[in-house]
């Protein structure tokens, strides 16, 4: 099963330990995570279900390209990292 890791930066706001997840796409994987942790959804996605502007998701080292539909495929052994962009002041 794929494994998803969340930036330590996020832990300050919401508990989100690494975990194994089910799903063949980024959207399915996130849906699986949100099923157990519904509050996490609004931290990662905007009201239209798009990946938030200042977040990135990497699947096996590659940044996902479909930030709106979250359709990038996720191999069964993938390591997924949800990271924050370095921005702000």
């Amino acid at each position: 099963m794929p494994t998803i890791h969340f930036t330590p930066h996020l832990q300050r706001h919401i508990d989100s330990p690494p975990r194994e997840v089910e799903g063949d796409t980024v959207g399915e994987v996130l849906g699986s995570v949100f099923g157990d942790n519904p509050r996490l959804r609004s931290y990662l996605l905007d009201d239209q279900g798009r990946l938030r502007e200042h977040l990135s998701i990497f699947v096996d080292g590659d940044a996902v390209s479909d930030r709106e539909g979250l359709s990038d495929p996720v191999p069964g052994t993938a390591e997924i990292y949800v990271l924050q962009a370095l921005s702000g002041g």
Partner: protein
């Protein structure tokens, strides 16, 4: 109205780097400032606005997390502990085909992202509406909660007005709904102000709305559009509690007053030292008394001649006194944002003597005598978005 009259007055300070609290030191002599900074919450995170609910004492803080979006927290113990509650949100944006049809028919593309970008205003419903909250946001939506923030609903009566797609940003990319005035006589009657989308009124709790910015003028628009109510940029709208037919509005292009419930507006011309600014406050019991914090001009958003002043009128804007004792007198670069001038309306019979004034470079002052003398609390705070007594 106040549920906690036995508690010391507090000022909540929503800043770019957290929520700060100031309290009045009991028994302090007049020679020292009786207000001191006492606490901080959400350090490091931007607090866009704050609401101390006068009906039940609950405190709400709206956060704008740079990476993770907008969050709303509630405290039932005056800010000691916090619980995250629901955040206002948007339904799925209409399908592209529908949007294209509408564009073809009306020629007014809906450029809104249909996602919450910032809670810009947060107000309690009426005393007879326990749990009702109103939130105004960027990109211009108004949201209602009936359960103290456990759930929210977008006010479709306003959002679905065809004029809404003509709104545009003022200072931000998207329009923002920043002022919500709940009529003290009838909480179903609201006035809201949008930058840039004029002033809107409802008499039925948000079901139906009408434009309420007639008489305002927008020189920044092409000549044909300058008197259109829907393009006006009201920077701040406030309502007199004891005479709710009277509203004051600091507009992008001047100062306005209405004495007929915002049906018509009259410009107050030649207000010294400048009629440009963002913040506005009206006395809770005297509709002729108001304060503002001008900047030089649209193009120079700094105090006139480097000197912070608070012009106060006691005659409905016919004349102004420039109050400055205790405020920076030279080489001052403070700008007061639209929610950073606040008159204390807490308690059974507010006197209108206590106000707080804050700036976008971390200055904070309080007056206890209607602005005659200001006490500096700090000039070292983060940029201040909003201040509220509670």
């Amino acid at each position: 109205m106040a549920p906690t009259p036995h508690l010391a007055p507090r000022l909540y300070i929503a800043t770019r780097k957290g929520l700060l609290t100031a309290e009045r030191k009991p028994g302090a002599g007049s020679a020292v400032t009786p207000w001191v900074l006492t606490g901080a919450s959400f350090l490091g995170d931007e607090v866009s606005t704050i609401l101390p609910d006068p009906r039940d004492g609950n405190l709400y803080a709206a956060l704008r997390l740079g990476h993770y979006g907008v969050k709303l927290h509630r405290s039932t113990d005056r800010g000691t502990t916090w619980t995250e509650c629901a955040t206002p949100g948007y339904p799925p944006r209409p399908a592209a085909a529908d949007t294209r049809r509408r564009r073809a028919r009306q020629g007014d593309p809906d450029e809104s992202p249909w996602t919450l970008l910032q809670i810009w205003s947060l107000e309690a419903g009426g005393p007879d509406e326990p749990g009702v909250l109103w939130a105004g946001d960027l990109p211009g939506g108004l949201h209602r909660s009936d359960d103290g923030g456990e759930s929210w609903e977008l006010c479709r009566g306003l959002w679905d007005r065809p004029e809404r797609t003509e709104w545009f940003g003022g200072g931000y990319k998207h329009p923002g709904l920043h002022s919500i005035c709940v009529d003290p006589r009838d909480a179903r009657r609201l006035k809201v102000a949008v930058s840039c989308g004029g002033i809107w009124a409802t008499d039925d709790g948000g079901e139906s709305w009408r434009l309420s910015a007639h008489g305002m003028h927008a020189p920044y628009m092409p000549p044909r559009l300058r008197d259109e109510p829907n393009v006006q940029d009201p920077h701040r709208l406030v309502q007199c509690l004891s005479e709710p037919e009277v509203f004051w509005c600091q507009h992008h292009s001047g100062l306005y007053r209405s004495t007929d419930g915002a049906v018509t507006w009259q410009e107050i011309e030649d207000a010294p030292p400048s009629s440009f600014g963002f913040a506005m406050a009206v006395h809770p019991r005297d509709p002729d008394v108001a304060w503002r914090v001008p900047a030089t001009s649209d193009a120079c958003r700094l105090p006139v001649d480097g000197r912070v002043v608070v012009p106060r009128t006691r005659d409905g804007g016919a004349s102004w006194t420039l109050l400055s004792e205790g405020l920076p007198r030279r080489h001052a670069y403070h700008l007061t944002l639209r929610h950073a001038l606040e008159v204390d309306t807490t308690g059974e019979s507010p006197t209108g003597d206590r106000l707080a004034l804050a700036s976008n470079i971390g200055g904070l002052w309080i007056t206890e005598d209607g602005g005659e003398c200001w006490h500096e609390i700090s000039r070292d705070l983060p940029p201040i978005n909003a201040v509220r007594f509670g």
